[in-house]
Symmetry: none
Subunit: 226 residues, 2 copies
Amino acid sequence: MEPLLVYPDPVPPELAQALDLSGYPWKAVVDERTAVRVEPDDGWTGAIVVAANDPDGAFALCRTLRKRDLPLEPMLLLVSGGQLGDLELRDELFDDFCLYPFQPLELEARLKHLFWRSGRGTRPELVEYGPLVLNLETYQAAIDGAPLDLTYMEYELLKFLASHPGRVFTRETLLSRVWGYEYYGGARTVDVHIRRLRAKLGEQHANLIQTVRSVGYRFGQSRWSI
Amino acid sequence: MEPLLVYPDPVPPELAQALDLSGYPWKAVVDERTAVRVEPDDGWTGAIVVAANDPDGAFALCRTLRKRDLPLEPMLLLVSGGQLGDLELRDELFDDFCLYPFQPLELEARLKHLFWRSGRGTRPELVEYGPLVLNLETYQAAIDGAPLDLTYMEYELLKFLASHPGRVFTRETLLSRVWGYEYYGGARTVDVHIRRLRAKLGEQHANLIQTVRSVGYRFGQSRWSI
DNA sequence: CTCGTATGTGAACGCACTGTGAACCGGATC
DNA sequence: GATCCGGTTCACAGTGCGTTCACATACGAG
């Protein structure tokens, strides 16, 4: 995913934190020229422009990026309460705005809605570990970019393990956490699923799941190794 | 100017005051049926729906007014901070939202921007995915240019799925999102509609809808955007 | 090295989930 | 009231896959 353009540079720390937490890649620019110069080949995914502190520079940037052959959108404006009255005359420069200071959840919700509107959809929820990627929305998994064809229980087991890398789980714990608390099956069931997961991960990545003898299984490297 | 629809009735006093001050004519309704019954001949100019206190009633109203031949827009949602996370899956039910309680100036600015936007017709009237095209205005569907003869529920189901490509939905989710929140039918109903959709999509495109065993159904391929 | 325990492996069983055809049922139309 | 249409439900069949078992192999203690 190409990054979002963020203005100004340096970015207010609470904005940087909110963007990082919500998972959007972003890149700050100091002015219009920089915005054009460091633009990715595929263009910016969108823009977040803080107009609260430097309205002139902010609106100039918006105008530049909007008047091009391929207008930059979506554009989210962060404005102070006193600037609300000025927005009326600048409708064409932004797609949505948010009061500044903002609540991180509101900012995230606005970004999601903006991306939905612009047809690009929201950022998928992912569980990642090294070459492994689990897409929680589509129930698909991939390793080294190659899709893994996992069954339901295999996916659930791998999701749980990959969500807690480095940690060892006993078979009983896995049965209760993955299969369900009231599950009364044999512990060997876990072994079989682990085996099939290793097989599907391929010889190269089978060691992502390690056996801890007399204890259980661990995904990824131990926290104490080295 | 035709009035704005406002929900619920009675309207929170600060909302009534803000609307009166900003000069918009408005009319409150107690429920969906009233909204349809007292609708002006030329239709509502837009809607302001307070979802903070009665989310179920509010979203039901939004759904009703959006599912018609001529969807009501623009729609502004007033939500509490705790509801921000729920908005993600209801993108199609509103055009903009505002935190509640709100600042009168922010509400007014959002209304102005919404009307400016809707004056230029930014709402997409088509849902497209690969060879599939859904025309939301005419309720027509086509694949590879050939028209599809879909029934109402088939169309609604396909529209919802195609609006969220790659994402897996459980039967329960589909029942609540497509059929309605208070629907208490059997989950197998979904299966039958999926089957008929696949049949009408034709052998070549039947795989646009995939079964995710033990979970539900997915439309189209996942997006591995990263 | 030997033994006992723990884990890997292949195969088989059987249930639960889904696909499918058809019946049912309520509403609309004439 | 008769008929049609679309949505829902039901019964049945096929099968994917979770579970279990039996046996092979690996590991560690002594």
